[in-house]
């Protein structure tokens, strides 16, 4: 196990370095000098030159990358020139919101996807199975922003059950906080469950034909116990795989959902930074999100190895 972790860590480091380099290059090589953005179009060339010197923009690019990376490693991601807030503060303030959103979405997605997958697998080929498989395929073609608008129209505009936008912190008003999260989390979950259901269903159909399921039936175990405990266990790996694969899409979906429902999360920070051309915040958030994404994938890999000995011994 330790050897496996070490091998994955050795692989992780170059990827993280490359990610930081790419983030830096996107921000540095492309047109639109930072000094011009800060000073505006009317700036005199002398002023721009002075600011470039102050910010070190006249240094060679490799030197700028190394000094930037040095600051990042010390935990200094820079400071917004619009609000004066450091990237670190801005991210720390908004991360819990995004995290809560993605966690709730994943829970709802699994709560829909797993029972539907089991029901379909038990009666595979039935009308119910065909209908749900068809709906899942159809749902895969519904972009997040479409389901968001549909849900807002149904539950906020027509029925007026739930608020369309807004947010209160969990510490202030837990019930109100969850109320604001219902529609955003449901929107994301609608995109999550088809993937979970489709993979789990085909996994389950194969599992249900195994001998040990027949044995469990013969022992007279309750059907619900066989399905949710015995049959689901070997599929736990599949569930982790899909969750891992979906993290990237979930993050992208969170950006859109946070913007639509006005949730003050990382995604909204990112989109806001793009609107106001707050390039330092933008660079910091992209680096933070990409770094976090790499680490999450690493953790998913580790979980595999814990669950499946074949992987950590390199036989898979």
């Amino acid at each position: 196990m330790l050897g496996f972790v070490a091998r994955r860590l050795v692989y992780l480091l170059p990827v993280l370095i490359a990610v930081s380099l790419l983030t830096f290059l996107i921000a540095s090589l492309l047109p639109g000098d930072l000094a011009y953005v800060i000073l505006g179009d009317q700036a005199t060339p002398e002023k721009v030159e002075a600011l470039r010197h102050d910010m070190g923009l006249d240094q060679p690019i490799w030197w700028r990358y190394l000094s930037w990376l040095g600051h990042v490693l010390e935990g200094d991601f820079g400071r917004s020139f619009r609000t004066g807030q450091t990237v670190w503060q801005a991210v720390a303030e908004r991360l819990p919101v995004s995290f809560e959103l993605m966690l709730l979405a994943e829970i709802v997605g699994i709560a829909i996807g797993v029972p539907v997958a089991i029901a379909c697998a038990v009666r595979s080929g039935s009308a119910f199975d065909r209908f749900m498989t068809g709906s899942a395929f159809g749902m895969l073609s519904v972009p997040t922003f479409l389901s968001a608008i549909l849900l807002i129209y149904l539950f906020a505009v027509e029925l007026r059950w739930l608020p369309a936008t807004g947010y209160v912190p969990f510490e202030e008003d837990p019930a109100g906080n969850l109320r604001f999260f219902v529609l955003p989390a449901l929107t994301l979950a609608l995109a999550e469950w088809p993937g979970i259901m489709r993979v789990l269903r085909s996994d389950m159909i194969a599992t249900l034909q195994e001998d040990y399921i027949a044995l469990a039936k013969a022992k007279g175990l309750k059907a619900s116990r066989i399905l949710f405990v015995h049959a689901l266990k070997p599929s736990s790996l599949t569930l982790i795989t899909i969750t891992g694969i979906n993290i990237g899409r979930l993050i992208g979906g969170a950006v859109i959902v946070e913007t639509i429902f006005a949730l003050p999360g990382l995604g909204r920070l990112l989109v806001g930074a793009i609107y106001t051309r707050d390039l330092i915040i933008l660079q910091g958030v992209v680096l933070f999100v990409a770094g976090g994404f790499v680490l999450m994938n690493f953790i998913v890999d580790m979980l595999y190895a814990v669950l499946d000995p074949r992987i950590r011994h390199g036989h898979a």
Binding site: P14, L22, G138, F145, G248, L270, A290
Partner: protein, 290 residues
């Protein structure tokens, strides 16, 4: 050895006949819708439509009528004209970006799968770096720096698709490269270029085409999301995403302004997914059993 080849041949001969029947009316409905939308977008300039950008403040949010078939939007612009001209943007990006992805990604994947070794490690490693970014985040960041234009948008979304196409092409090439016909070609003294282009490419082509259609669906969605956020093609040019974004603001008074482009986009994405998935099932022998 001989028996193995015989059984292989039988498989190849039997399965297509069984599968062709399974295409079904849904597949053909999807093909029809795709052709219809493509034709509408291609002939948008010739069709007798009002201008998609002419505003008429006296005729804002007009209901459907003989003059404006789908009514007018919040600025009095003809909804049908905007929808069809929007199709041009969504489909241009949706079709051109995967072309970039399939060309570069397909070539890299085939070369990596055929030559293996250091080159393969390098390709797979650099794709891992690209995959280390959540796709929408990278697209947003690069558009923000590069500036919004149709060309930039297409290039960014194209580059984002490269890793996926590379994986498909590499996986297909890896299995094919050990097959008898490739070994035979090698034994006959064929050059690498000839093996890659004449022996491998025709076999990798179909899985790539199926994946290309799925790529079109994904790209239309991502382009829609960017335009919806106001970070796609700049106004007044309409795209389905920006129309849905504008329609959201009048959801209480005129929900159709959001729902008409939404339904059009859904049907188009669904059609590409259906056709792509059917083709994928045809070309992927493992899925055939399901």
């Amino acid at each position: 050895m001989a028996t193995l080849e015989l059984s292989l041949n039988e498989d190849v001969a039997v399965t297509p006949v069984r599968r062709v029947r399974r295409l079904g009316p849904l597949f053909w409905a999807a093909v029809t819708w795709t052709v219809f939308i493509l034709a509408a977008a291609a002939f948008a300039g010739v069709l007798p439509l009002p201008s998609p950008t002419d505003m008429d403040m006296l005729e804002r949010r007009m209901p459907m009528s003989g003059l404006h078939w789908l009514g007018t939007d919040g600025l009095g612009r003809d909804e049908l004209a905007r929808l069809i001209h929007g199709a041009r943007i969504s489909l241009t990006v949706g079709l051109c970006a995967p072309v970039i992805g399939v060309t570069i990604g397909g070539a890299l994947g085939m070369l990596a799968g055929y030559f293996r070794g250091r080159f393969e490690s390098l390709v797979v490693g650099s794709m891992d770096v690209l995959l280390a970014f959540p796709p929408l985040i990278l697209a947003l960041a690069v558009t923000a720096y590069l500036g919004q234009s149709l060309f930039n948008l297409t290039c960014i979304l194209g580059v984002l698709g490269i890793p996926a196409f590379m994986r498909v092409a590499r996986a297909a090439t890896l299995t094919l490269a050990r097959r008898e016909f490739v070994i035979a070609a090698e034994a006959l003294g064929a050059t690498h270029a000839r093996i890659l282009l004449r022996e491998l490419l025709p076999n990798v082509f179909l899985p790539l085409l199926a994946f290309f259609l799925l790529g079109v669906a994904v790209t239309i969605v991502v382009e829609g999301a960017l335009s919806f956020l106001g970070l796609g093609v700049p106004p007044p040019i309409s795209s389905w995403g920006s129309m849905i974004g504008e329609g959201r603001e009048s959801l209480e008074v005129a929900p159709r302004l959001a729902f008409i482009p939404a339904i059009t986009m859904f049907l188009t994405v669904l059609s590409f997914n259906l056709v792509g998935d059917t083709l994928r099932a045809l070309t992927d022998p493992r899925q055939g059993a399901l």
